[in-house]
C-alpha cells in the first residue's frame, strides 16, 4: 500500500479572539480534531458552510498557520519537521479571489516566476522560458507575459494563479474555492483546465467548495465539514446517493439544479450557522437537525464507518 500524499491526524486549530473591546479573549475552535487522508492522484473535496473551518484547514496544510494540536504529514513526513520551503515545493495553493491573490504591482512574468525567485532556481532567461511554458499550459497567450493583473479578467487571473502554483511542479494543489468568485461560463473554463492539468501534471487536489454540483463533478472523495468538524467523509458515489449525516443530506437538498419542473426543495433545515465561539453542546448540528434526539444534545458523536467512508452521527450506519 502506498503512503497517502496527505494525512491529517486529529488536527485542531484554536484562535483566541478578542471579544469586541469589552470582554476577555474567547477561544474559537476553527478546526476541531480533523483526521483525513488524501491519496495520490485523487481529488479530495471539502464542503461546508461559511465559517466551518475550510480555509483554516487549507492554511494549515500550506503551512501558513500551525495547528494548535494534531499532525499533518506529507508522504508520511510530518509537516512540522519539514522545512517550510520544502513543503512549498510539494503543496501549492489556488485561492478563491483571483483579484486579491495576485500582487497588483507585478507583471504576469514576475508573478509566475516568483516561486523560482524565492527558491533561487534558474537564471532569468531560464525563468522566462519556464514562465512561457506555464502560460501555454494554462491556456494564456504568451504575449500576456508583460500584462498586469489589473488588465486581466477574473478567469485570466485565475489562470495566472494556477500557473504560478504549478511552476514548481508540486504534487498537491490546495484549491480554496477556486471558482466561486467567477461567473458560470468562466467557472466551466477553469474547472476544465484544472481537470486537464491534473492529468498532465499528475496532481492531487484538495478542493474546497461550497458548490456541491461542482464537487460532484470533479471529486473522488468528499468530506463534509460543519463547525470545524468533519461530519461525513465518503466516496463521491456514496455521498451523493446515500448520504448518512442529516447535514450532508440538507446540503444536497439545497443543490438547485436548473430544472424548472422541480420547484423549491421541500425540506429545508431551519436556523443558521451557530456561533463558533459558543458551539452547541453534544452534536454541533443538533439545533438544526430534523432528527435530533436527547442523546445528540449531550454526547458528541464519533465517526462510524459507513459504506465507502465514515459519518459522525448516531443515526448513521
Amino acid at each position: 500500500m502506498t503512503v497517502p500524499v496527505l494525512e491529517l491526524e486529529n488536527v485542531t486549530k484554536i484562535y483566541p479572539v478578542p471579544q469586541g473591546m469589552f470582554k476577555p479573549k474567547a477561544m474559537l475552535t476553527a478546526v476541531g480534531g480533523v483526521s483525513l487522508t488524501v491519496a495520490r492522484g485523487e481529488v479530495h473535496a471539502l464542503v461546508g458552510e461559511s465559517g466551518s473551518g475550510k480555509s483554516t484547514l487549507a492554511k494549515m496544510l500550506l503551512g501558513l498557520t500551525k495547528p494548535t494540536s494534531g499532525e499533518i504529514r506529507i508522504d508520511g513526513v510530518p509537516i512540522a519537521k519539514t522545512d517550510r520551503r520544502e513543503v512549498a515545493r510539494r503543496i501549492q495553493p489556488v485561492f478563491q479571489d483571483p483579484y486579491s491573490s495576485l500582487n497588483p504591482r507585478k507583471s504576469v512574468a514576475d508573478l509566475i516566476a516568483l516561486p523560482l525567485v524565492a527558491h533561487r532556481i534558474g537564471t532569468s532567461e531560464s525563468r522566462q522560458k519556464t514562465v512561457a511554458e506555464m502560460l501555454d499550459a494554462v491556456g494564456l497567450p504568451r504575449r500576456m507575459i508583460d500584462a498586469y493583473p489589473g488588465q486581466m479578467s477574473g478567469g485570466q487571473r485565475q489562470r495566472v494563479a494556477i500557473a504560478r502554483a504549478l511552476v514548481m511542479r508540486p504534487d498537491v494543489l490546495i484549491c480554496d474555492e477556486p471558482t466561486s468568485a467567477l461567473d458560470v461560463s468562466v467557472q466551466a473554463q477553469i474547472l476544465n483546465l484544472l481537470m486537464d492539468l491534473k492529468r498532465e501534471f499528475k496532481l492531487t487536489y484538495f478542493f474546497i467548495s461550497h458548490n456541491l454540483a461542482v464537487v460532484e463533478h470533479l471529486a473522488d472523495r468528499v468530506a463534509v465539514m460543519y463547525l470545524g468538524r468533519i461530519v461525513e467523509e465518503r466516496g463521491r458515489e456514496a455521498l451523493f446517493t446515500q448520504a448518512s449525516h442529516p447535514y450532508s443530506r440538507a446540503l444536497l437538498d439545497c443543490v438547485l439544479t436548473p430544472d424548472p419542473t422541480l420547484g423549491m426543495p421541500d425540506t429545508v433545515i431551519s436556523g443558521s450557522f451557530p456561533n463558533p465561539i459558543a458551539p452547541p453542546p453534544g452534536c454541533a448540528f443538533h439545533p438544526r437537525c430534523p432528527c435530533a434526539n436527547e442523546r445528540c444534545r449531550i454526547e458528541v458523536p464519533r465517526p462510524v464507518p459507513v459504506a465507502d467512508g465514515v459519518a459522525s452521527c448516531f443515526s448513521a450506519a
Binding site: K59, L62, G63, L64, R84, R85, V87, A88, R89, I91, Q92, P93, F95, Q96, D97, S100, S101, L102, N103, P104, R105, K106, L114, P115, V117, A118, H119, D136, A137, V138, G139, L140, P141, M144, Y148, G150, Q151, S153, G155, Q156, R159, A161, R164, M168, Q189, N192, L193, D196, L197, R199, E200
Partner: protein
C-alpha cells in the same frame, strides 16, 4: 497537451482580442494626472519654485547675503518708489529681497525633502513592522506612535532646538525625528490590509522569505499612499520650519529662510507690508503647490472603484 486545454487557450486568446488592451500603468497615470486640475496646478507651482530656487543664480545676479545698509527697505517695483535694480525691493540690511527669496526657497525645499526622507524612513519601517507582524510588535509600535502623538510637536521641537543649539541641521533632524507619525499610521494600516491579502499568503505558501515578502509584495503596494503622505508631510515640515524660524529657534540668520524672512520683516509690517507679504505668499504658494500635488496624487493613484 490535451485538446481541451488547447481549445480553451485559443478561446481565451480570442476573448482577449475582444477586450481593447489597456494602457500601461504609467500611461494611465499620466493620462489621469493630466485630467486632474489640482494635480496639474500643484505640479506647475512646484516646478516653478523648484526651477527658480535651484537655478537661483540664473535668475538674479545679486548675492543674497551682500548687505548695503545705505539701500535699506527699498520697496518692490509696483510701489512708486521701487527700482528695477531690486525689483522685489531690499530688506532691512539692504539685501536684495528677490535673491533672498530664491535662496530661501532652497532652504525650504531642502528642509522639506530631508525631513521627509528621514521621517519617511522611520515611519515606514515602524508602520510596516507593526502592520506586518501584528500582535505584540504592533502593540509596542502602536504605543510608540501614541507617545509620539501625545508630544506637542512645536514645543518639543523648540525645546530640543534650544537644548542642542539651533541650526539648519538641528531643524532637519528634530523635524525628521518628530514627523514620522503619519507615515507610521498609514504604513501600518495599509500594510495590515496587504498582509491579509491572499497574495501575501500565496507568497508565503510559495516559500518566500519574510524579507522578500516585505520588500517585493508589501512595500510596492504601499508606496502610493506613502508618497501622498510624503508630500503632505513635506508641506507640514516646511510650515513647521517656518514657524520655528519665526519663533527664533529654527534656521538662524543670515541664512534666508522664508519663515525667518517673515519673522525679520515683522518689524516693518505696518509701514512696509510687502516684507512679510512676499515671503508669506511664496510660502503659501509652495505649500499649496505641494498640497495640491499630494491631494491630486491621492486621487490619481486611487484604484478604480470598479474594475
Amino acid at each position: 497537451m490535451s485538446t481541451t486545454s488547447a481549445s480553451s487557450a485559443t478561446a481565451t486568446a480570442a476573448g482577449f482580442d475582444a477586450v481593447p488592451v489597456r494602457r500601461s500603468p504609467l500611461a494611465r497615470f499620466t493620462k489621469r494626472a493630466a485630467r486632474h486640475p489640482g494635480f496639474m496646478a500643484g505640479a506647475f507651482i512646484l516646478a516653478v519654485i523648484l526651477v527658480m530656487s535651484i537655478g537661483a543664480p540664473l535668475f538674479t545676479a545679486h548675492d543674497p547675503y551682500a548687505q548695503d545698509i545705505s539701500k535699506r527697505l527699498i520697496p518692490p517695483i509696483w510701489h512708486p518708489k521701487g527700482t528695477w535694480e531690486h525689483w522685489l525691493g531690499t530688506d532691512k540690511l539692504g539685501r536684495d529681497y528677490f535673491a533672498r527669496l530664491l535662496y530661501g526657497g532652497r532652504i525650504s525645499l531642502m528642509i522639506g525633502a530631508a525631513t521627509v526622507l528621514m521621517s519617511g524612513a522611520i515611519g515606514t519601517a515602524l508602520g510596516v513592522a507593526a502592520g506586518f507582524f501584528g500582535g505584540r510588535v504592533d502593540m509596542v509600535i502602536g504605543y510608540i506612535i501614541n507617545v509620539r502623538l501625545a508630544l506637542p510637536v512645536v514645543l518639543v521641537a523648540l525645546a530640543v532646538a534650544a537644548l542642542v543649539g539651533t541650526s539648519l541641521n538641528t531643524v532637519i533632524v528634530v523635524l525628521g525625528l518628530l514627523l514620522w507619525d503619519r507615515f507610521a499610521v498609514v504604513a501600518r494600516s495599509t500594510t495590515q490590509q496587504i498582509a491579509h491579502a491572499d497574495f501575501v499568503a500565496a507568497a508565503r505558501a510559495i516559500g518566500c522569505s519574510t524579507r522578500l515578502i516585505v520588500f517585493s509584495e508589501v512595500l510596492p503596494n504601499i508606496v502610493n499612499p506613502l508618497i501622498v503622505v510624503a508630500t503632505l508631510e513635506m508641506a507640514h515640515a516646511i510650515l513647521l520650519e517656518a514657524a520655528l524660524s519665526f519663533l527664533g529657534l529654527g534656521v538662524q540668520p543670515p541664512l534666508p529662510s522664508w519663515g525667518l524672512m517673515i519673522s525679520e520683516g515683522k518689524q516693518y509690517m505696518f509701514f512696509s507690508p510687502w516684507v512679510i507679504t512676499i515671503p508669506g505668499v511664496a510660502l503659501v504658494a509652495l505649500v499649496l503647490g505641494i498640497n495640491l500635488l499630494g491631494d491630486g496624487l491621492r486621487d490619481v493613484t486611487a484604484p478604480d472603484n470598479r474594475s
